[in-house]
C-alpha cells in the first residue's frame, strides 16, 4: 500500500499519469478513507516542485495544487478569506497533509477551500503529457462529484485573480467545532466605491451537489447605489430562495435553505445593504 511513485518534477509526474494504473495522491486525507485495497499505484505529489507553495504574479495569487492547508495558513500571501476557510478544515493533522488541489479534485461541494476558489473566480491550470489548459473552477465541477479532469491530467496550480479579492463574509456550519464536514458554508465578496456596488459574489457550499453560485442573481445588485440595493434586498433574497434547491443529508433541505438565506441576508446587512 505504501508502494508508489515519488516524482520531484511536473514532467515526471505527468509522464507517470499516462499510465491508467496510477492514481494521483495529494495529501490522501480523502483517498485513504475509502477502499485502500487497490491494484493501482499511488503517485505522491507532495514533492513536485511546480505544484508547491504560494506565489504572486501581477494579476494573480497562485497556489500550487499540492500546497497543504497548513502552508496556506502560514503564508503571508494567502488572502484572509482563504485562511479563514482553511482554518476550519478538519484538524491540525489533516491540515498538515491535505492540499488545496486535492480538495478541489475530490469534487465535493462540501470542500472548504473550494468554496473560496468558487467565490473568487479562480482558474485552474490543468496539465497532462498531452499539454495544458486553463479552466475556470466553476466549469471544473460537472455535478454529482464528477469533475472535468481526464485520467492522465493533474491540477497543477490554482490562480486567484487579485481583482476579485474583495472584503469578505464567511461562515461554516459544522456539527461541531473541529473534524466536522460542512453542513452548509457560505462565502460572500462585496466591494463598493463611493456608495455604488462594484462587485458582489456569493457562493454556497454543501447545499447542492456542486458549490452553488449564480452570477445572474449577483448582478441584480451590482452597479446599484446602496439605497437602491436596499430596496431590492427582499427581491434579491427571494430570488435566491427560489434558485436554491438544497439536498438533504445529515441535515434537512429546509434547514440548509434557511441557513443559506439567513447568511445571505446577514452578508448584505454587514455590508450596509
Amino acid at each position: 500500500m505504501v508502494s508508489g511513485l515519488h516524482p520531484r518534477r511536473l514532467n515526471e509526474a505527468l509522464a507517470a499519469m499516462a499510465d491508467p494504473g496510477v492514481i494521483a495522491l495529494a495529501g490522501g486525507t480523502d483517498l485513504m478513507v475509502g477502499e485502500t485495497e487497490t491494484e493501482r499505484r499511488f503517485l505522491y505529489l507532495h514533492n513536485v516542485r511546480e505544484m508547491r507553495g504560494l506565489r504572486e504574479t501581477p494579476d494573480h495569487l497562485v497556489v500550487g495544487a499540492a500546497t497543504t492547508f497548513t502552508e496556506v495558513l502560514e503564508s503571508p500571501l494567502a488572502p484572509p478569506l482563504l485562511k479563514e476557510a482553511v482554518s476550519g478544515v478538519a484538524s491540525p493533522a489533516v491540515r498538515n497533509a491535505g492540499t488545496v488541489g486535492g480538495n478541489v479534485a475530490n469534487g465535493s461541494p462540501k470542500a472548504d477551500s473550494a468554496l473560496v476558489l468558487m467565490v473568487v473566480d479562480a482558474v485552474l491550470l490543468i496539465a497532462s503529457a498531452r499539454g495544458e489548459r486553463l479552466l475556470p473552477v466553476a466549469d471544473f465541477y460537472l455535478g454529482g462529484k464528477k469533475v472535468d479532469l481526464a485520467s492522465d491530467e493533474l491540477i497543477v496550480e490554482i490562480r486567484l485573480p487579485k481583482s476579485r479579492l474583495a472584503p469578505h463574509y464567511y461562515c461554516k456550519v459544522g456539527g461541531r467545532r473541529a473534524l466536522a464536514i460542512s453542513r452548509l458554508s457560505f462565502a460572500g465578496l462585496f466591494r463598493q466605491e463611493r456608495g455604488r456596488i462594484r462587485h458582489l459574489a456569493a457562493a454556497f457550499g454543501a447545499v447542492t451537489d456542486v458549490i452553488f453560485r449564480d452570477r445572474c442573481l449577483e448582478s441584480m445588485l451590482v452597479g446599484l447605489e446602496i439605497p437602491e440595493a436596499k430596496k431590492l434586498r427582499q427581491d434579491f433574497l427571494a430570488a435566491y430562495g427560489a434558485a436554491l434547491v438544497p439536498t438533504s443529508g445529515r441535515v434537512s433541505k429546509e434547514y440548509r435553505r434557511s441557513v443559506a438565506l439567513n447568511l445571505l441576508g446577514d452578508f448584505l446587512t454587514v455590508f450596509g445593504v
Binding site: S91, C171, V173, G175, R176, R177, A178, L179, A180, I181, L184, R250, V251, S252, E254, Y255, S258, V259, N262, L263, D266
Partner: protein, 708 residues
Amino acid sequence: MAPHPISEPVVKKDHDLKMSGRALYAADHYPEGLLFAAALRSPHARARILKVTPPELPPGHIYADHRDIPGPNEIPIVNCDTPVLAVDAVQYVGEPILVMAGPDERAVRKLLSRVRVDYEVLEPELDVKTAGTTYCDYNFGRGDVDKAMAEADKTYDEEFETFYQEQAYIEPQGLVVRWEEGKIIARGSMQCPYYVHEALVHAFALPEDKVRVVQDVTGGGFGGKEDFPSNLACLAALCAMKAGGRPVGLFLGRAEDMECSTKRHPSVSRYRAAVKNGRLTALDIDVVFNAGAYTTLTGVVLLRGVASCVGVYKVDNLRVRGRGVKTNTVPCGAYRGFGAPQTVFAVEMFMGHIAGDLGLDPLDFKIAHLAAQGDLTSTSGRYHHPVPLPAMIEDAVKNSGYREKRELCKRQDGRLRRGVGLSLWFHGAGFAGTGERDFIKARVRLVKSADGRVEALASNTDIGQGLKTTFAKIVAHELGIPLDRVTACSPDTDRCPNSGPTVASRSIMTVGELFRRAAVKLREGWADGVEQVFEDDYVQPDYIIPYDYDRCRGDAYATYSWAACVVELEVDLLTGVHRVLGVWGCFDAGTPVDRTILTGQMEGGLLQGIGYSSMEQMKYDRAGRIRNKTFSDYLIPTAMDVPLIKVTLHVEKFPEGPYGAKGAGELPLPGVPAAYLSALEQAMGGIPVRHAPFSAEETLAAVMEAGK
C-alpha cells in the same frame, strides 16, 4: 476541614504504559495460529428465518450456529431471554444468526456474505407507545395524588423525550477465546469478567472451574462493556470449540459495534404536577423506556430511572409508573448514569417550566423544594446522610455568576444570544436495593508476599477510571507502606475472587472499602518474611431500609452523591449552532481517593453530558435501522468543543465508604442536559425544550417559528 491525605494525587499506575503507547489491547495480541471470527447479522428488524444455506466451507474455516451450542442457547443477563444465536426468528437489525472463523478476516467476511438466508420479513414494532410487549412495569407512590391534583391552584402536564446515546469508547469491543484441555480461556475488553464467566459456564454447560476469563487493557467502557462482551465471548467460544486449540479472535469494527452493541435507552416521560400556594404538592410520573428486542439490563436501568425521577426534591404525594417496553431494535443497556439521565432531564426541565410559569427563577423554586437528611426518597427510603446541596448550589452559583448572568441574559438582541441554566441531581451510589447483600456478595483478597509486597485481588476492572491506582492507594495508605509496594491486578477469574461487576459507581465505595478492611486485617496480622492472605466480604450496613422489589419500596441506594451544575452557552440565531461558553460543576462524591482522578472523571462525564444535550444524535429509521454508525456521522465533542470546565469538589463523608468516599463515576453526567437545555431555552428567548438531545437544526426551526 483539612483534606484527607489519600486525596493527594499520584501518577497513575498505568500512566507510563498507556502514555508510551505500549499498552496492548484485545486486538493487539496476535497469538500463534489466531483465527478471526465474525457473525452474520440480521438485516431485518423482525423476520422469520425460513432457511439458512451456508456456502461450501474452505479448508481451515469454521462454521457454527445455534445447533452447536452445548448448553442452553441463552445469555444470562438478569434474565435469560437473549439467545446466543438466533434460531428461527430475528428480533432486531444486527442480531447474530451464525458465526464463522478463519485465518483471514477479510476472507471470513466474504464467506459470510455468501451465506444465503431466506427470511419471511415481518412488520417490526418500533413505537414504544403502541408496542405490545411490556418487559417490566413498576408502580409505586405515596400520599393522595388525585386529591392534591383536585385541590391544586394549578396543574401542569408535560411530556419529555430522550434518544439513544452511544458509549463511543475509543476501543471497539473484542475478545480472544481458546479451548485448552476442556477449558475455555477468554480474554479481552470488558468491564465485568464474572459476567462473561457466567455466560460461558451457562451456554457451554461447563463447571465453573472450566472457564477462565481475563481482562485485557480496556479502552473505555462507560457501561457499554458491562453485558455485551458476554454475547461476543459466546460467539468466539463456539468457533474456538471447533478450532482444535487454536485461539479465535472476535473484534468488532466501529460500524458493527455501533449498530449491534448496547446504548442508552430512549425514553418518553409524562410528568404531571399539582401546585398550591406556590408549592409543589404532587407529582404523577409515567416513564417509558425503550428496551429494544430483549430484556437485558432494562429492569435495573429502569429501576434507577424511576428511583431518580423525583430528582432532589421533596414531594408528599407521588405516583410513579415505569415501564420497559419491547421494540424490534437493538437491546439497550448500560451507559454512565444507567437510567437516571432520562428522568433527571425530565424532572429538572419540568421544575424549571413550572417555576417560569409561576414567575420565579428556576433555582429559587428548586431550592424551596429541596429534600434534606431524613426526608423520603422517591421509593420511600430515606436520605440517611446529610444533603449538602445548599452549600454546593452556593458554590456553583458563585463560581459561574449564575444569578448575574441569568439577569443579564433577559435583555439581549443581535445575532448571538446567550443563556445560562442550572441543574441539580443526585446519583444513587452503588448497586440498587439489597443487591450487594443478596446477589453480589462481594469478596476481595490481599496477598502479601514474603518480601512484603502486596497484591490486591478483585474482579473490578480498570477501564480508564484509574481503579488500579485507587485500589492500590487505599491498601497502601491503610498499611502505611509505599504505593509502589502495592499492585492491583488485572482481573483473572482463576485468581481473583468475585468482587462484583464494575458498574453502578460501586467499585471504590463498596469494593474499595472491602480492600481497606482487608488491609486493616493484614496490618494487624502482619508477619515479616512469610506469605499471608487476607480476605473481606461485604456486609450490609444496619441502617438500610430493605428494598422490596415488588412494591418498589425502601432504600434504593445506601447513600447518594450530589451534583450542582451550571452551563452557559451562546446560540447563533442565523444557523442555530450552539457554543458552550462555560460549565461549572460542584460534585460531592465524598472523600476523593485521588483528587486528580476524581476531577478527571467529573470533567469527562460533563463532556459526555454536553454531547448528550446537543450533537450526539442517534435514532433508528422506519425500518428499525441505525443509519449513523461511524464517527463522521455520530459526532462526539472534540478537544475544540471542550469549553471552560470548572469542577469543584464538595466532601460529605460517607461513613461506610473508604475514608468517606462514595459513588463517583456516573455522577457527572445525568443532569448536564437539563442545565444545557435550560440555558438554551433562555438563549432562545424562553422557547421550551422537551427533548434531548436538541440539535442546531431544531434550534433554528424553533427560533424561526417563534419569529425571534
